[in-house]
């Protein structure tokens, strides 16, 4: 491999790095997955820790005791990424973990929305409900509770 080609590749890497930094700077709040509730809901913004406690079935209520209804998306990349970002567990770990929670009678898993398109309707019908969506799919009926990462 010639020196010029290496330099060329280095320069391209530098450029793309700079581009990524600029992008990150202009979109400081960009996220992959966001935790949402209905715009009319009274649920306050959540910390990653609170959300993780809920989605691991360790809690069924907010810290003030308000019960919440959790929604999952059907199995797929958004769901897998959500759990990975929130709990650090991969899909196989999460499924094994939840099977143990459910079948020892400790907790019930989140309800499953039929699709990401169905979720906003489900959330607007229930002020105590929360769910997650890819960041790009937020509409005015929804309010963001937590951005991941």
């Amino acid at each position: 491999m010639s020196h010029s080609r290496i330099r060329c590749r280095l320069r391209r890497t530098t450029l793309s790095l700079a581009g990524a930094l600029a992008f990150a700077a202009t979109t400081a709040h960009a996220a992959e997955v966001v935790l949402v509730t209905s715009a009319a809901s009274g649920i306050p913004a959540l910390t990653a820790e609170e959300a993780s406690q809920l989605y691991l079935g360790r809690r069924t209520t907010l810290s003030d005791g308000t019960a919440v209804t959790l929604y999952d998306l059907p199995g797929g990349p958004t769901r897998d990424r959500f759990y990975e970002l929130l709990t650090g567990k991969n899909p196989n770990q999460i499924r094994a973990y939840w099977s143990r929670q459910v079948f020892t009678g400790r907790a019930l898993p989140p309800r499953e929305a039929k699709s990401a398109d169905d979720l906003p309707t489900l959330l607007s019908n229930d002020g105590a409900a929360i769910g997650y969506l890819p960041d790009g799919q937020i509409n005015p009926r929804l309010r963001v509770l937590l951005k991941l990462p």
Binding site: E49, Q53, T61, G65, R95, R100, F103
Partner: protein
């Protein structure tokens, strides 16, 4: 029969009340189809208190299980759970039985109280013993889990869950009774069970500590006991018989374990101990498992050991008996048939075929202690005298699903 009708009624009640609000009822289930074979025709693999030693080779009895569960939400802070499981029992049939049937109430965000039929949580994975999908193995290592054949807890428990810093703490006290049938035709019972488990989870690590005490009743009906009891009474040694079977024993279960799971490496270790002042031996066991995930495939290794601390009938007693032909051998057989002592090395692989389905294959090489039957049952009366000090290869295959 009585117990079989309860889940049917409960399911009916669940579905009837759920017609108002279908969202309130959740049905789910789990299943395993498993086969296990040994390379010794006279030694049949068995799980004490779970299956009936089978003549089939391979045997589908020890690991196959089907469970269906209904969860009913009752308002914001209460729920009812019924779980019915069908698996081969010690009578050799698959009659479904309720394995969970309880009401749960969330007292505070941290505390829930449950009453009814629960799982008896003596060891780290005891309450998920039927849920093979939740474990890396075909079955949790018998060297540890064979220490308690008891499965149900009819009583109450509390789950207190708090977070301190970055550590999740679960304190789980429990109280109740438990009964079980042991092969063949033996009834065993725990009364006044009182215990507590503590689980600490911090990132990828979780640590378990548990202790429980109970009153123990066992009324053996196996050939050793039925031959020995009248013979010992004829010799005026009722004291020995009273230590072999009856309803006046006490027992204690203790365990400590950890699990490390960072998504790539899975390491699980556990030590457990059973002390019994009569009717059962005192023993301890440990296991260490290490696995590594390559995507959906996880090969793993297990080393495990089960050691007897005190036999049911003390050898001092045996020496004090008159030298009647066959008597000492019968007592040794009685003790050995209640001694699971063995060690084993297992190589296995779990493959998560698709979401909610896993296939597993395990190869185990086990060696029974000289005075023990280990996790095996003799295929004939003649075989019963040569169970100790044997090496056995065991192949286990299973498919686990949840739905």
């Amino acid at each position: 029969m009585k117990w079989a009708t309860i889940p049917a009624l409960a399911m009916w009640a669940l579905s009837a009340s759920a017609s108002d609000d279908l969202q309130a009822l959740t049905l789910s289930g789990f299943a395993t189809l498993g086969v296990v074979a040994t390379d010794k025709a006279d030694m049949r693999f068995t799980r004490v208190g779970i299956d009936r030693p089978g003549t089939e080779r391979p045997d589908t009895g020890p690991d196959s299980v089907l469970g269906v569960q209904g969860n009913l939400r009752l308002g914001e802070s209460s729920s009812a759970v019924v779980q019915v499981v069908s698996r081969e029992n010690t009578k050799g049939n698959y009659a479904p039985r309720p394995t969970l049937a309880f009401l749960s109430h969330q007292v505070t965000p941290e505390l829930s109280a449950r009453a009814g039929r629960l799982r008896i949580p003596f060891f780290m994975q005891s309450d998920s013993l039927n849920i093979n999908y939740a474990h890396p193995w075909v079955r949790p290592p018998e060297e540890v889990y064979g220490l308690s054949p008891f499965a149900d807890l009819d009583g109450i428990d509390l789950l207190y869950r708090v977070r301190a810093g970055e550590t999740d703490i679960e304190l789980h006290p429990f109280f109740g009774t438990s009964r079980i049938s042991l092969y063949p035709d033996t009834k065993a019972r725990l009364k006044r069970v009182a215990g507590a488990n503590l689980t600490l989870s911090h990132g990828d690590l979780s640590v378990h500590l548990g202790h429980a005490e109970a009153r123990l009743e066992i009324n053996w009906q196996d050939p050793f006991y039925t031959a020995l009891a009248p013979a010992l009474r004829d010799l005026g040694r009722d004291g020995i018989v009273a230590r072999m079977a009856g309803n006046d024993g006490t027992t204690r279960f203790s365990s400590a374990g950890f699990q490390w799971d960072d998504g790539r490496w899975l390491v699980i270790g556990e030590y457990a101990r059973r002390q019994a002042d009569r009717y059962a031996n005192s023993a301890h066991g440990w296991q260490l498992t290490a696995g590594h995930r390559f995507g959906t495939v996880m090969p793993y290794m297990v080393v495990a050991r089960h050691i007897q601390d005190a036999a049911v009938v003390d050898m001092e007693d045996v020496r004090s008996l008159p030298p009647l032909p066959g008597l000492a051998e019968l007592i040794s057989g009685f003790n050995a048939s209640r001694n699971l002592a063995q060690h084993s090395v297992t190589a296995g692989v779990r493959w998560d075929v698709r979401s909610n389905a896993a296939m597993k294959a395990e190869f185990t090489r086990a060696r029974t202690d000289a005075n023990a039957w280990g996790t095996f049952d003799p295929s004939s009366e003649a075989a019963a005298s040569r169970m100790g000090g044997r090496s056995i290869n065991i192949l286990s295959l299973s498919v686990d699903v949840t739905f």
